[in-house]
């Protein structure tokens, strides 16, 4: 059966670089511990995706931001940057569609192979994806005909099962058309570091801290305090109510 990839406890450190105008980041260094969900917030164009990209490629002063990423307080080896078999990072990007002209099953098997995993994991990915989306994905479907919600659910399940990495980067899960809280819990797993770019109040408040971006720079870090946690519980209730309403309408029923 599948090889169990043990999650190595590790810390992720982002050392500050510069913003779009070359001014130093307001946050000179931030260390993120295993099990922590950390948010990245800020207006469009403020550099959120750039920060995610810096982490994904383990920048070492070679990206426009000049930031450095450390793992366990050390610069990671070059092969950890690129070799998918040893990759420490799984990423859910903003892309909502697949371009590959392959069947769902063939693609997932090939992806498992590229990560050094058992190709039979493809079945589990599809089963999991189908718990997140209303329209079931069939293994024989061509990837390119999947809807946005189906693609997104498949990408999430693929990250949870095949790209089972200790660091998970998520760029705007709220655009998904899938059950976002369940998706986030699935992705977070046990003891993973989750970095999530978000405009969604509920996801932002689910994080223990959030990095605030402005003009390409990391300006400050806000810890979610007790007041915010109270607000989170209200938002969660509201979101549950909206989700139930959405489901009622989807099922062609009348809202009571």
């Amino acid at each position: 059966m599948s090889q169990v990839t043990k999650i190595i406890p590790l810390t992720l450190t982002v050392q500050g670089g510069v913003d779009k105008e070359g001014h130093p980041d307001g946050v000179s260094e931030i260390e993120i511990a295993p099990g922590e969900i950390i948010g990245i917030v800020g207006p469009t164009g403020s550099g959120k995706s750039t920060l995610i990209a810096d982490i994904e490629q383990f920048a070492y002063g070679d990206t426009p931001s000049g930031r450095r990423i450390l793992i366990n307080n050390q610069a990671p080896a070059a092969e950890l940057r690129s070799d998918p078999r040893r990759k420490l990072v799984a990423q859910l990007s903003q892309n909502m569609h697949f371009l590959a002209d392959m069947s769902v099953d063939e693609f997932l098997r090939m992806h498992a192979k590229s990560r050094g995993k058992d190709p039979r994991l493809a079945e589990r990915v599809i089963a999991l994806a189908n718990t997140l989306t209303g329209e079931p994905v069939n293994p024989a479907f061509q990837l390119t005909i999947l809807s946005g919600g189906q693609s997104r659910a498949l990408m999430v399940a693929d990250i949870a099962v095949i790209s089972d990495s200790p660091i998970v980067l998520i760029d705007e899960i709220e655009n998904a058309g899938i059950k976002k809280q369940e998706a986030l819990r699935l992705l977070a797993g046990e003891g993973k570091i989750v970095v999530v770019v978000t405009h969604d109040p509920m996801l932002a408040l689910m994080a223990s801290r959030r990095i605030v971006m402005k003009n390409g720079g990391m300006t400050k870090v806000i810890s979610t305090n007790e007041d915010e946690q109270r607000v989170f519980r209200d938002v969660e209730r509201l979101d549950g109510w909206l989700t139930a309403l959405r489901e009622t309408i989807r099922q062609g029923e009348v809202v009571a």
Binding site: D62, P84, S93, F98, A100, D101, H111, S114, S163
Partner: protein, 232 residues
Amino acid sequence: MKMVVVAGTPGSGKTSVLMHAVKDLLRSGRSPAVVKIDCMWTEDDARFKRLQVPVAVGLAKDMCPDHYAIYNFDEMLEWAAAQGADIMLNETAGLCLRCAPYPDKALAICVIDVTTGPNSPLKVGPLLTTADAAVMTKGDLVSQAEREVFRERILEANPGCRIIEANGLSGKGSAELAQLMAGWPDISGEMVLRHNPPLAICTLCTGELRIAKEHHRGVLRHLDGFMEYTGE
């Protein structure tokens, strides 16, 4: 003198990736010179000139652009040396997938666009299979899973090649690429092609692998546009 040949299909991002690498080379104290080969027309030289590096353009016109590049490699190297360059970067026109205009001692780079789908590495042929490095572009337009499947397909086509994920817009990967260029051994002595060109009408078309002009016959076009027939 080091020599780098950058090949890849049109629109794959060769020029953008190369421009970022040129900036990195300049920052590390190198002196690159760029020769852009195209078929009918190009304005890429203007883009390179903005980086204040020596740029030459060769238009192949009626000659196969890859054959044209191969035929003129020694002239390009002489030109680059006269400009005081220590790295000659040749960007090919990128049309035919059958030719691989890679001399054995040059660093051969194949730029390949991820959005063309995971079957494309199997279609590219010697352009990819005989390259030293494959540069994957436009990876930001697909999911991580798709990038990784694409990477696996590149390795199926060319198991030994170095893969660099680059982004022509943000400059991602260019530092790694520039490092690879700067660390490549200097060219020396006679060079031969890594792969035979397809059959057609000049000596290159009939399988000549040697680079120097004296080995070639047929209707041939020089870098300066002069065309001549050499032969019996």
